[in-house]
């Protein structure tokens, strides 16, 4: 027991004696992905500019949301990045504060879709991603979202689970391929249910999918562009499909927790993160695609990102409202018709 308390104490004493302890702190919650690259492109330079200390909390979005909700009365997290529908879910629970966009110098340079993605200026988009199908070009050819349910890939295809961000996106596109309209996915879910035995798994993480495809367990699956580098760098011939129905996609946004008391620093970070300078650096590191329309990158870099107004405007996205309003019923239908 003594040792347990002595150790933190002595570390605390060490910290207190150095200047680190005296600096202002900003706690942010981010996706755990590419943290080393982020440190170089964003965190380190920011700490230098603001003369403050960034505390980074990572994890998957659900854990991070649960923590923000649990700490609502006394926010630990000041600022967070999330998918647009997760942000909307938080906003509906009254956990977010309205953003003063005049404090964001680059606001007017953002693509229109990123300016007020969930309404009421509760969030602002900082990156877009396309979603399509990755496939083994030596074994199959994918020309439509409908090909996912064709015999050519039976027993070797994976779909994203309904619980993840990619799940509803896939249903959306598959519905179009099967000739249905709107966001009533009942028929599409039934169609998947009939073919459930032909589907290797309903994956949860794109890293898991990458592993399954490397092991040749799976030869075709829908995935977000942010994971493309896991495939493009492989020795196996992976290809990014351009299906007849087009690509789908989504947006990640920045938000601020209500009453965090650290607004000034949080705006500073958001402003810096959205600036053309940082967005270019992040893009060139192939981490996140820019939401700032002033960012210019080489053709090679653009190829691994979701880049440019034309592409972004062509994405068949689902509105965050539709996702939050319908997700429970989708999960319900999915659970009773697909996973049996």
């Amino acid at each position: 027991m003594t040792l347990k308390y002595l150790l933190p104490l002595s570390i605390g004493a060490l910290l207190a004696s150095s200047s680190v302890f005296a600096k202002d702190k900003l706690t942010i919650s981010v996706y755990s992905f590419a943290q080393d690259a982020y440190k170089e492109a964003l965190y380190d330079p920011f700490e230098e500019i603001c003369d403050c200390e960034l505390v980074i909390e990572t994890g998957n979005s659900v854990e991070r949301m649960a923590k923000i909700e649990a700490n609502a009365a006394n926010p630990v997290i000041d600022m967070a990045v999330m998918s647009s529908h997760d942000a909307l879910a938080l906003a509906r629970k009254g956990l977010l504060q309205k953003l003063d966009t005049s404090k964001l110098a680059s606001f007017n340079d953002l693509y229109d879709a990123a300016k007020d993605p969930i309404g009421d200026n509760m969030a602002v988009g900082y990156t877009f991603y396309a979603s399509s199908i990755v496939y083994r070009s030596d074994l199959v050819d994918i020309k439509s979202w409908g090909d996912l349910l064709q015999p050519a890939v039976a027993g070797r295809v994976a779909l994203p689970n309904i619980t993840g961000t990619q799940g509803p996106l896939t249903l959306h596109m598959l519905s179009q391929a099967l000739g249905h309209e709107g966001i009533d996915f009942t028929d599409t879910i039934n169609a998947i249910g009939e073919k459930a035995d032909d589907i290797v798994t309903f994956y949860v993480r794109s890293s898991q999918l990458a592993q399954l495809m490397q092991q040749e367990e799976v030869i075709a699956a829908p995935v977000g562009r942010f994971a493309w580098s896991r495939f493009s760098g492989s020795d196996l011939p992976f290809k990014w499909a351009e299906p007849a129905e087009g690509q789908t996609g989504g947006m990640n946004v920045m938000l601020m927790t209500k009453g965090n008391g650290n607004e000034e620093l949080a705006y500073k970070l958001m402003d810096y993160w959205l600036s053309a300078e940082v967005q270019t650096r992040v893009a060139n590191a192939k981490i996140d695609s820019p939401a700032n329309s002033k960012v210019e990158v080489s053709a090679d870099i653009a190829d691994s990102l979701t880049y440019g107004a034309d592409l972004i405007n062509s994405l068949n996205m689902i509105s965050p409202d539709d996702i939050i309003d319908n997700r429970d019923s989708w999960v319900e239908q999915w659970n009773s018709n697909v996973i049996q």
Binding site: M1, L3, K4, L7, P8, T27, S32, F33, A34, Q35, V55, I56, E57, T58, G59, N60, E63, A66, K67, A70, N71, A73, N74, V76, R205, S207, A210, Q211, Q214, Q215, R230, G233
Partner: protein, 259 residues
């Protein structure tokens, strides 16, 4: 003769099943390629070396180590007297106490973790580290009580009665006659508890604060980002560490005498 032979076959097969995957992990960690695979694509030590360059692994390793050691010791301090009381004094409701003590094993970790976050960390301003410590102690306590109880129940009561007849107090009888005889049980409880705590995922999932994260959670997070063999390499290193612990336990405590 044939009996020894049969025994060898049984043990070899059991060990192959239990430890085989461990060798696969060692070799997968030695891969020169960039994904987890077996047989590995060429041999290289680079992933083993890579483990040491990940700073968060070092931090989370220390945290997990401290939690496992002190959580388990605390659990034993509480658990051994509890087990003794359950076995020796026919206290009313001993069965109920056993069940209550066993609860953290049975209550799914995510519920325990979330409960701690919601009811201790948030309203009472407990630090995440303290909550983790409590959670891990509670998690290990059932193992301590049950393993020690099982050992005590097989220990004949006349040893301590003899000690008392020879002039020992109850406490002396416990420390001099009972404790040495249940050492193996306590050791087994410690090892079980240590391991359970060290590898615990669900309870710690919600109990990670900025900069405070247990090793398995860190590994899971790392695995989400990159899918290279360094996680396999790290697991292999941890396994080597545990071999060392067992080896030292054997050399200093004469582990096998109690087994």
């Amino acid at each position: 003769m044939s009996q020894t032979w049969a025994s060898r076959v049984i043990l070899s097969l059991t060990l192959l099943f239990l430890i085989g995957p461990f060798f696969i992990i060692i070799f997968a960690g030695l891969s020169a390629g960039s994904t987890l695979s077996f047989p590995p694509d060429g041999l290289s030590l680079k992933w083993y070396l890579a483990v040491f360059s990940v700073e968060s692994f070092r931090q989370s390793f220390m945290l997990s180590m401290l939690l496992a050691v002190f959580g388990t010791l605390t659990a034993l301090l509480l658990g051994v007297p509890a087990a003794y009381a359950i076995c020796r004094y026919k206290i009313p409701g001993a069965e109920t106490i056993k069940l209550i003590v066993a609860a953290p094993i049975i209550v799914p970790g995510i519920i325990v973790g979330l409960a701690l976050l919601r009811y201790l960390v948030v309203p009472l301003n407990f630090t995440v580290t303290l909550a983790l410590f409590l959670a891990h102690t509670a998690l290990v306590l059932p193992y301590a009580v049950r393993v020690v109880t099982a050992t005590l129940e097989n220990l004949r009561t006349d040893i301590e009665e003899a000690a008392i007849l020879l002039g020992c107090t109850r406490l002396q009888a416990f420390t001099k006659a009972v404790l040495p005889n249940i050492k193996s049980g306590i050791l087994a409880a410690f090892i079980l508890g240590f391991v359970t705590s060290f590898n615990q995922v669900p309870v710690s999932l919600f109990l990670s604060g900025p900069g405070v994260r247990t090793l398995p959670i860190d590994m899971l997070a790392y695995m989400e980002i990159t899918y290279d063999p360094s996680v396999a390499a790290l697991s292999a290193l941890l396994a080597f560490l545990s071999i060392a612990i067992v080896f030292i336990a054997e050399k200093t405590l004469g582990f096998s005498r109690y087994v």
